[in-house]
């Protein structure tokens, strides 16, 4: 599949616009091919109000003072009020957004970006290079995503150059991160607080941690969008029943981040459409490898990975439709380079355990997890039940979600001792995702050894490889190493599910729930 960098101003294939004179002029030839398919759809209606509620736990939600800032925006997960320089589309392919094009130098360390012209902020000002430089000054100080950017130079009113600390072939994906939004230029300690961005909607009213009301930004750079006049978001993390009852009672037009386990019931609600993304967050079982831990022995790691009945987890927890089987790496089916997991092999698992000195079964240390997603407890109850077939006793205990991450790592400074515990892993480009299995990250259980060295060598080549096809082969070889050495187990992942009323159209789903866009939403 080619790395198509189409001009994003043209509307998405599925909701191609027939009307709107200005739009017709801007349509590139390629789009015409899909005209037939779009025509069959009813023409989008402008106006009205779209109200949805999100259920995923976003513990960064700000308060009265910071609530509108992109780092703490109530609904940090949509590009409703802000835009980034680039946008990762549902196929996990990066496409231009506020930057129209980008060119890396020979060794992928210096990138020049051409900025889009005629983009207006909510307060009417034009977006220029100064705003981008000022925004990235803030990002470099405040978020680790921008840590690799050393300097941002302004070359012209709409042209900038970015210097990285080391080569990164997939740098544009970083520019798509949900925190690296472009804000009107301002000093570091106030930039972004007023919630002014370039996004499709203007923030009108905010009730921290509970509700936000936005209205259409008339001068939005994607002409003709958005369709609805008002966008309202009610946040209810951990209040699944309230949200669903509200949806049934007509309070909300859509519910984002629904518990996939509810699919069979939701299908029975009259007048409800259900949509799930290609992939989504997945559950990672961190295997500690400090001395004294059973997971030092590779055979035990492999046995555990092979013993889990991932099919049964899919059937019971995800109703076989709303989940996907993990391949013990941070990648997901949405990533092109994803290598599917081989078949479950209980016999081999038993043989491995016998070789490792546990002929009649092994009792693993307690596995701790937290319900960062509503179905996580169910995933591990099924995992614990199915590994019994291979003689593995896996005691599990749920921990409250707060302070969980720090609790996992007992005493980082001295021994890097780590608990046998769960960690959530998001969907990202291979460059970022595979890097998380590096030896000095607790998610890899401080992995080391020859396989790890070979894995890191491959990563270094990948980062410096300009040709996407070559990169894909490298990433596939890295996954094969993970499948063999099993530094961590990724049993299952979820698909982001959202349900909406029959009269809602144009609501696209996305594996990265923070990349869902509301530009194309309209109500019949």
């Amino acid at each position: 599949m080619t790395d198509d960098t189409r001009d994003p101003r043209d509307p998405k294939r599925r909701s191609l616009l027939a009307g709107g004179g200005a739009l017709a002029a801007g349509m590139a030839l390629g789009e015409l091919l899909f005209l037939g398919e779009a025509l069959a759809q009813p023409t989008p209606k402008r106006g009205g109000k779209f109200v949805y509620t999100n259920l995923y736990p976003n513990n960064r939600m700000g308060d009265a003072r910071t609530g509108k800032h992109p780092y703490y925006l109530l609904d940090i997960n949509t590009r409703s009020a802000f835009n980034g320089l680039a946008y990762v589309n549902p196929k996990l392919v990066v496409e231009p957004e506020l930057a129209t094009s980008w060119e890396p130098d020979r060794d992928l360390k210096v990138w020049e970006l051409q900025l889009r012209e005629g983009v207006k902020f909510h307060n009417g000002r034009d977006m220029t290079a100064d705003d981008v430089v000022s925004s990235f000054a803030f990002h470099q100080a405040k978020t680790s995503f921008a840590k690799q950017i050393v300097k941002v130079e302004k070359l012209g009113p709409h042209k900038i150059r970015m210097h990285l600390d080391k080569p990164n072939s997939e740098f544009p994906f970083i520019l798509g991160e949900y925190q690296l939004m472009v804000m009107p230029a301002a000093p570091i300690d106030t930039i972004g607080l007023n919630g002014v961005g370039t996004g499709p909607f203007r923030i009108v009213e905010l009730d921290p941690k509970r509700r936000i009301i936005m209205e259409r930004h008339e001068a939005y750079w994607r002409k003709g969008f958005p369709f609805v006049d008002r966008l309202e978001v009610a946040s209810s993390p951990g209040r699944m029943e309230g949200a669903l009852n509200g949806f049934r009672g007509g309070l909300f037009d859509a519910v984002l981040g629904v518990d996939p386990g509810l699919l069979p019931d939701l299908e029975r609600i009259p007048g409800t459409k259900i949509n799930f993304s290609d992939a989504g967050d997945q559950a990672l079982m961190i295997l500690p490898k400090h001395e004294g831990s059973p997971f030092n022995d590779k055979r035990i790691r492999q046995a555990l990975s092979l013993a889990i009945d991932r099919e049964k987890v899919m059937k019971i927890v995800y109703g076989a439709k709303t989940g996907w089987i993990g391949n013990d790496s941070h990648l997901t089916p949405a990533n092109e380079a994803f290598v599917p997991f081989p078949k479950r092999d209980v016999a081999k698992a038993k043989k491995l355990l016998a070789e490792a000195g546990f002929p009649n079964g092994i009792t693993l240390p307690t596995f701790y997890f937290t319900a960062s997603w509503p179905e996580v407890p169910r995933v591990f109850q099924v995992v614990a039940q199915t590994v019994k077939d291979a003689g593995i006793t896996l005691p599990i205990e749920q921990r409250p979600s707060d302070g969980y991450r720090d609790w996992r790592v007992e005493d980082k400074e001295k021994t890097r001792k780590h608990k046998f515990a769960y960690g959530p892993a998001g969907v990202r480009n291979p460059g970022v995702s595979l890097y998380r299995m590096r030896p000095d990250n607790n998610e890899s259980g401080y992995w080391s050894g020859p396989a790890c060295d070979e894995y890191m060598a491959l990563y270094a080549r990948g980062v410096a490889e300009r040709d996407p096809q070559q990169r894909k082969f490298i990433y596939q070889k890295m996954q094969l190493i993970l499948l063999d050495d099993v530094p961590a187990v990724h049993p299952a992942g979820r698909k982001n599910m959202l349900i909406y009323k029959a009269n809602v159209n144009g609501l696209g789903n996305h594996s990265q729930f923070w990349s869902i866009r509301f530009d194309e939403v309209w109500k019949a």
Binding site: D63, T66, R210, N245, P400, G403, R405, P424
Partner: protein, 318 residues
Amino acid sequence: MGKAILRRLALSLMVVWLVTVLVFISTEVLPGDALQVSLTADEAAQMSEADFTKRRAELGLDRPAPVRYFSWLANAARGDFGKTIIGREDVATVIGYPLRNSILLGLVTALVAIPIALAIGIAAAYWRGRWPDMMASSGAILGYSIPEFASGNFLVLCFAIWLPVFPAMITAFTRDAPSTLIAASFLPILTVVIGSIAHLVRLVRAGFIEALNSDYVERARLAGTSELQLVLRHALPASVIPALNSAALYVAGLLSGIIVVEKVFAYPGLGLVLIQAVEKREVAVVQAISLVAAVVVVSMNLLADAAVMALDPRARRR
């Protein structure tokens, strides 16, 4: 009598202070701190140790515990509850409206529950042993035996889903005017009222039976006083005293009942702010809420004592 009140006041202040010390120590024991909790998994994976220590110093989390506690206490004494660690926002504004909403729910519940409970309690005591008493007593026990989260959810099932009369989830703004908030909160109020009435009926009934069997009611009855006069003028004030004495317990019960209702109905009250504050290790918010709760419960106690003294002159001598 003044000296007794002064002593009680001093005692109450000491209790409130001890509560703040206890709460601070317990927040210190919790694993992780505000910075840790605020980072998403992906972001934390990128950060090195150096970044952590730098950010922690920025947020002032590296100061030793006693220093943090006494600086908080000094400010709290002046009414400044400090700022939240991550958002740098005034704690007062964070807990301001939720506190108002919780007190609002508590007040409305009390205003609805107390008169009804009094009426039922008196009827049960007056016709002791007969059907009103049987109904009231077993109804009361039933009332507070059903957990609030079960009764709440069933009310939602019946009145928000099967016959969608009331909103299942309260989406009113935290800052909304009390009238809109209460209008949308019929179901949560009903849930808490059921539990409150159940508790109060038993107390009022017990107090009233004791009053009805007293010597002074017998004298008044044999002096020709009408039954109504007996109930209202002679028995009622004395029967309210046991209910008042455990008013503080009732308020404590109400606070926890409200928290369950907040979770079921998403009512914008203080309970969820408290639980989130604990989850986010916003120590200043946890301290402020426990201070406010302690002051509310303690003042309820003092209020109850004052009311008892007003009602029962004998109490004045103590």
